[in-house]
Subunit: 360 residues, 2 copies
């Protein structure tokens, strides 16, 4: 596979230009680009600029509104429901997280459920907004149905990620940012490109039988929940995914379960929606609502040190702190640039030609 490496600033300018061409305001274009760039910087290549042309295709089909009137439609002192007006999740989710943080600043915590939104990028971006203000950040989103609950032979849930982010003292934040499926779709794509089988327990085929073929999703198969099968706790992965779905969509008035609109433009949304768009759930809690932030951080540092120094099964491995690998990527890529595979570069240059902006 051929990689081309671009400086962050160069990719950021390109990405902002694309969103401006879509008709976003400069503020929204900058923000949406920031969310995508952060994903590439953090090494989550599946959620970064590689998705740009997908957003454009949804906008062309009028399923993304480039100039949304994002607004609070219901609230109490510490809770709110936001209508994203079919905007990019990349701008709707930060809007909602900002409200959660404003409420937390006054009352200790803030919680926002969001309807009528679209794909919001990496969950970690939004949760980390809170961490910068010495808050605990929580973010979740539902997603187009790809996962079969335990015993089911239908795709009823998305990979529905949840993220919890905590500020540490001398170490990077602890960021648990995870799909609630056994494996994310991106891993199947990598195996498919490499023409390699995937481990048992990631997918089932259209008949509900376990399979190691990375292409099963293209022929009616499903991803499996975290836990893979009942014996290994797939009902727990399914339960977590259900939790994300309920907090993000049943609570806000978005579509849930199999009614969540697909993220790809070539598949139409269900004709019988049960809500509006997709849903997110965002929360912020002030650390000093519980104990002084400095105390929390020094204990979290101690937690991190204890876990990192733990005995391991393999002398060449170390216990990994959640968020540590992504932080490592970020430090490196800020300096050395962001590598994109050839196929992504070509796709983005085709997009550039179509939108009449400078190629990468």
């Amino acid at each position: 596979m051929t990689f081309h490496t671009f400086p962050e600033a160069h990719l950021r300018k390109f990405t902002t230009d694309v969103f401006l061409k879509m008709g976003c305001t400069p503020t929204h274009a900058d923000l949406a680009a920031d969310v995508l760039l952060r994903s590439d910087l953090r090494g989550i290549d599946s959620h970064g600029v590689a998705r740009l042309s997908g957003y454009i295709r949804l906008w062309e089909k009028e399923r993304i509104n480039a100039t949304p009137d994002i607004r609070v439609v219901h609230e109490t002192a510490t809770t709110a429901t936001v209508d994203g007006d079919a905007g990019l999740g990349l701008v709707v989710a930060p809007f909602a997280m900002k409200i959660a943080m404003e409420k937390a600043a006054i009352y200790g915590s803030g919680w926002v459920s969001v309807k009528n939104s679209n794909h919001f990028g990496i969950a970690g971006y939004h949760a980390l907004m809170a961490v910068e203000k010495d808050m605990i950040g929580i973010s979740m989103t539902n997603a187009s149905p790809l996962v079969a609950p335990t015993y089911a032979n239908e795709r009823l849930l998305g990979t529905n990620p949840m993220c919890y982010a905590f500020p540490a003292g001398k170490y990077p934040p602890v960021v648990v940012d995870m799909a609630t499926s056994a494996a994310a779709n991106g891993k199947l794509e990598i195996a498919s490109r490499a023409n390699k089988p995937i481990p048992d327990g990631w997918v089932q085929n259209k008949d509900g039988k376990g399979s190691t073929d990375p292409n099963e999703l293209k022929t009616g198969g499903s991803l499996l929940p975290l836990g893979s099968d009942k014996d290994h706790g797939s009902h727990k992965g399914y339960g977590l995914s259900a939790t994300v779905d309920i907090l993000s969509a049943v609570l806000s008035g978005a579509n849930y379960g199999p009614w969540v609109p697909p993220f790809v433009a070539f598949l139409d949304p269900p004709s019988d929606p049960v809500g509006e768009g997709i849903g997110h759930f965002l929360g912020a809690m002030r650390i000093d609502g519980f104990r002084p932030a400095a105390d929390f951080k020094s204990h979290l540092d101690n937690w991190i040190e204890r876990f990192k120094s733990a005995g391991t099964v393999d002398p060449n491995k170390q216990v990994i702190i959640p968020g540590e690998p992504e932080y490592g990527f970020e430090q490196e890529r800020v300096l050395k640039g962001i590598p994109l595979i050839d196929a992504v570069v070509q796709d983005l240059n085709t997009l550039a030609d179509k939108l009449q902006i400078d190629r990468l």
Copy 2:
């Protein structure tokens, strides 16, 4: 295995008597008995009256305070930290949940982190307190270290359960109540009694090798996180368990990670504590802080109906709604009584003789 079935009221009286003999106030004895009975009613036999003599042994070692002064030590409008004064978690956690609910009633949401507590029974009990008031209930606790994080060959985390409970309309509440390990300890005990191997992916032995021996924990082995191994997402189960540990203990000032005191009296707590007792985290959010409760419930009913009617892999199975099996047990056992295995009955009768109360 021989079972003896007791009417709920009979077991409740017995359990209350035990807590009274421990020196609990009548209010605390009633509450603690209610938490244990609810567990037995809901079919979670490992967390019910079978644990009574374990609580007594910890009390005899002065590790449980029967007359705690449970109090708020830090708070904002919607957050609080509670010091459980080494009381039974069975009374400390409901105290904390009540505060969360009082805050939610006024401000929309309430969040309480708890230190200096003990085993709190089933997480579902506390979360369901909120559901009765049309709130979403959340409860978590850390627990004595039995689980090795991904790559580790040490027990650094407990089975650290998390629970999310949601009120439905015409259906029972959706209750996701799960250990964040691949399997709970109780399942190993059942296999051990039956002299049967356990599935791969539940435990590793003291050398960090996978094993199917249900007795590995007794010889230095560890439980594995949900996901079982890195390929199947054990870093996610580990991340969830870490989240529970941080919210419950790093946030409150309780012991975390390998410093959490053991639940059994024959093992001493670590001599170098990093906090006080074990920790919990409890939360409540008013549904009508986001949308009218009736709207939420009718959509959750629709969610439930869609999932229950899904096509399945096996025509003899149905997709199970989280909390549905426990609700079924509860309906049945309220009427027909609670079955206890012979060993538990004998243990409780020995306890009765020691405490000079009526045998079962």
